[in-house]
Amino acid sequence: MQYTLLILVLPLLSFIVLGLVDSKWKPKVAGTIGTIVLGIITALSYYTAFEYFTLHKVAGVYEKVIVYDMEWLRFTDALHINLGILLDPISVMMLVVISTISFMVNIYSLSYMDGEKGFQRYYAFLSLFTFSMLGLVVATNIFQMYIFWELVGVSSFLLIGFYYTKPSAVAAAKKAFIVTRFADLFFLIGILILSFYTKTFDFTILTAEHTTVFAGTTGITFMGFSVLSWAMAGIFIGGAGKSAMFPLQIWLPDAMEGPTPVSALIHAATMVVAGVFLVARFFPVYYFQTPEVLHGIAYVGAFTALFAAVIACVQTDIKRVLAFSTISQIAFMMVALGVSGYEGHEGTGYMASMFHLFTHAMFKALLFLGAGSVIHAVHSNEIKDMGGLRKYLPITNWTFLIACLAIAGIPPFSGFFSKDEILSASYEFSPFIGGLMTFVAALTAFYMFRLYYSIFWGKDYTIKASSHGHDDHGAGHTPHESPFAMAFPLIFLAAVTCVAGFIPFGEFVSSTGADYHIHINLTVAIVSVVVASISILIATMMYRKQSTTPDKLAKIFSGLYKGASNRFYIDEVYMFITKNIVFNNISRPIAWFDRHVIDATMDGFANTTQWVSLRIKGFQSGQLQQYAYVFLFGTLLIAVLLFIF
């Protein structure tokens, strides 16, 4: 399978070529080249997946295949860094996800970014990002992964700060970078500790089932925990930074200042799940060596899921709603990993996590691209500027609805299947976590439909004067459906979302590599569907008002509640409970906490440094003799200190 090398080389070449020619080629040419290259990569990934899943099953277990391995830096005889390509079920699955989404985003951007200055560079950066993300997932060792990990951070920084020159975007790119780098510091420390004790970076050695490399760590403790726990916790913090787990989630909502296709690619489908991928990659180590860290991950995940879902209920910027929803959904995946066992049915969580990663990537990318289409049409991110758009944007409307149903967990859409597995795994771990996750799932359904109705239903879209919008589009036009290049990815992803749930995912991906048959836990499934439906119903009642053209779905719901009771009375009770109690007393304070306390802590570090800096500036007085005095004093001090100690 040597051709898999091409999957890495092609986007790199594309980046170099597009980066070098810059504005010498026409934008269309550059965009087309980038897109075609991505098309080839996608085809190659699919072929790799096909070949891997058909050929590399030995005794019922998918083996780890190292397609390519090159010794790169020999540090000491025992410790060396390799570059290579490791294929195993999860990396192959990630190849498919990344190349698909990236390909769709490339197509979509052809139209969405049309006319932007630096179009060519945008495509160069997209290629760079794809390259680094692909390199990350096929890494054979933790060091290679770390390098691509950082490269992903760099390209995401470049893309977030790409063309928006709003002051808020200025801070966003930097914040994203610094927060993730801060987390990566712990990642690096984790790597250093781990490699120091195990003398290897290699995943195949580290994650082997009956490995002895951890023998050297037994009995070495630091502040009550074993060094290995510290190392693995450090690695998880690195993952938490990229995957926006509490309290490192602060960068993701701000990162929405980037172009929308970038948000779809990076902040919904690929980069943000890198942390989940990392934990999954180290899963045997977590499970066998440091189960306490794994459980910690579960609790962090559960809390983040709830926290983000609550905040999502009050956001008014559609991309921010989606951002918090992403945080919440990634937390679902983390929870699934945290509660997972290892073999057979015990390993449901692991499988479910990967399954959800897969389905979520598709429908969340779809949501973002749909949001992009809406923003493209109305030139605003704010819910208040939208409403009743379904007649102007039929394709976007339908695809967005499919995605919302998927994320809400309504069968037969893909999200139902993966989320159901996560919930049943959670219930098996602890009823508390299970119940909590079900509640979060209900919240998810609620805020997604709140979003959906606010955009496509409700009050009629009013054409506003020139208060919003780009200069080149002119104000006051009727919103219109996006061109084909933007519509195609929507339709494609919607189709995937409809059918992905029926993929027998457990046959491909499981914690041991052995087959795993998905059983739908009927109790959990029914409960979650009912709860989600009720949430959708509530959202429908609250936000679907002023609708003039009821459609099928609405009929079902309106019949349901009309027959049940007095519509307006209940509506008002709901309004009172949700608006006054839930929003004002729960969601808003949490959102405020997020914005003011957690953000402010980060800012506090920066301000302290600034303050110290201001205090000691007197040292740099510009006076030669003072410099000499400090010099002499330093010399004497060193000498005296040496004699005292």
């Binding site: 510009g622 006076q623 030669l624 003799q625 000499a628």
Partner: protein, 113 residues
């Protein structure tokens, strides 16, 4: 101390006496460097510091290691280096005088923080 007196009358000079002179000269130079206001006076202080090191070399050579002349030659070359450094420093100071019409070190604080 009593050694010093007995040496004085027995007609020999202890090495510490030379080293003491050089140390005093060195720290006089340091004090000058830290307190003089004129660039030229600072330069004068530096000459004192370099000269102190020279005395050390020669003294050690003569008293402790007379069989070879390493300290002697070190001093010789240090004198040459002192000359070089003085020449360039004075050129720069004269240049400052042309620009600022002053050789006061206090004027040299345009750049700070």
């Amino acid at each position: 101390m009593s050694e010093l007196f007995s040496n004085f009358f027995s007609g020999s000079i202890p090495m510490e006496a030379y080293l003491g002179i050089s140390l005093i000269m060195f720290f006089a130079g340091v004090y000058g460097f830290l307190t003089r206001k004129s660039l030229l006076m600072i330069l004068i202080s530096i000459e004192l510091m370099l000269n102190a090191a020279d005395i050390n070399f020669v003294t050690f050579n003569r008293y402790l290691y007379p069989e070879r002349l390493e300290g002697f030659y070190f001093t010789l070359f240090t004198i040459a280096i002192a000359a070089c450094e003085t020449a360039v420093a004075i050129a720069i100071i004269i240049n400052i005088y042309r620009n600022l019409n002053s050789v006061e070190v206090g004027n040299l604080d345009q750049m700070k923080e």
